[in-house]
């Protein structure tokens, strides 16, 4: 059994519920990340890592790793706990397991890329739990399974997650900071009924302007085209 297979089989959460039971709650909100389809040894499943939160007390965590993306069909495992502390503990435990995986020198490069992305996002989620009262929560994208798809909400904006673009996306993710969530929130409002669909990002070189918007596109399942305006070339 490969290290990753071993990791995936660890039932480290104590309270399992079906996805349907979590979805039937009218109060839960979530932040979630859907990563690309997995080439090579992990087959064709779609990575997803989701943290469902209904602050301040009721919390559900869903982590699908290496499973086909079928949230709306209820095939994902759900792990529900009653307060924030166990969630933090479980995510920290899962994070430690992922970090141990990264210490393996023979880890396939594509798997390393995926696990690296998961670690990046898990640390971001741990910080979200810690800073729930801060503005970063406002910028978290919240995913709601529907009968046929998944809707993404943030502020006053609701978009449909484009499941058709979840394959072949690059999985690299930028470290999430307060600026990330502020940018997500503002961009989502620009995409909503009150916005005109145009966002300007400005700041010094190396502050993650372009990558932040590319990451947002990944979180929304959007195709992203980058046009170098100076040269008029597509990339």
């Amino acid at each position: 059994m490969s290290p990753l297979s071993s990791f995936l089989s660890i039932p480290s959460f104590c309270e399992f519920e079906t996805l349907d039971s979590v979805c039937s709650s009218s109060t839960w909100v979530s932040t979630s990340v859907f990563l690309s389809s997995l080439p090579g040894p992990l087959g064709s499943g779609c990575l997803s890592l989701s943290l469902f939160l209904a602050p301040p007390a009721d919390v559900a965590v869903l982590i699908n790793i290496g499973l086909p993306l079928s949230l709306h069909e209820g095939s994902g495992q759900c792990f529900r706990v009653g307060c924030l502390l166990p969630v933090t503990k479980n995510l920290t435990s899962r994070l430690s397991q992922l970090i141990e995986l990264l210490q393996s020198s023979d880890l396939h490069e594509c798997v390393r890329t995926i696990v690296t992305a998961l670690v990046t996002l898990l640390i971001g989620q741990l910080r979200q739990i810690k800073d729930l009262h801060q503005d970063c929560w406002k910028g978290c994208l919240r995913y709601y399974p529907t009968d046929t798809s998944i809707s993404v909400k943030c502020g006053e904006t609701t978009l449909e997650y484009d499941l058709s673009t979840t394959t072949n996306q690059q999985v690299e993710r930028l470290v999430q900071t307060d600026v990330t969530f502020s940018a997500y929130y503002q961009a989502m409002q620009a995409m909503g009924p009150a916005g005109n669909g145009i966002v300007h990002g400005e700041g010094p070189s190396g502050t993650g302007k372009t990558e932040t918007f590319k990451d947002l596109a990944k979180e929304l399942g959007m195709k992203c085209t980058v046009i170098k305006s100076e040269t008029h070339t597509n990339s």
Partner: protein, 111 residues
């Protein structure tokens, strides 16, 4: 999403770009213009009614935490503080952790 990266033309050129972008994307999608300008220049470029997101210097300590973890160090939080304290450039920071991670993987010795 269409990202116009490092736009540096006139306001008229920007309008032209955005018009093309608007025509090429679905209504629910978004057009992003990214500038490495100072605020005065950028303000001149902004189209009325559009959102302006200001990016500031990266939080190096936060980035160091994640980099230490993604390179496989169990003591990522502590290592991040130690490594980031004398570094001001995110690229140098990244190289430091990548080098440390490569060495640790090769030797099997993790701190």
């Amino acid at each position: 999403m269409v990202i116009y990266d490092e736009f540096s033309g006139s306001q008229e050129q920007l309008k032209e770009f955005v018009t093309k972008a608007e025509a090429s994307v679905k209504a629910k999608e978004i057009t992003v213009c990214v500038y490495t300008f100072d605020n005065t220049q950028a303000n001149i470029m902004h189209l009325p009614g559009s959102a302006v997101i200001k990016f500031t210097k990266p939080d190096l300590e936060r980035i160091a935490e994640v980099m230490a973890a993604t390179e496989g160090f169990s003591n990522w939080a502590t290592l991040a503080v130690e490594t980031a304290k004398d570094v001001t450039d995110v690229k140098i920071l990244k190289k430091s952790f990548v080098d440390m991670g490569s060495a640790a993987r090769a030797s099997g010795k993790w701190s």
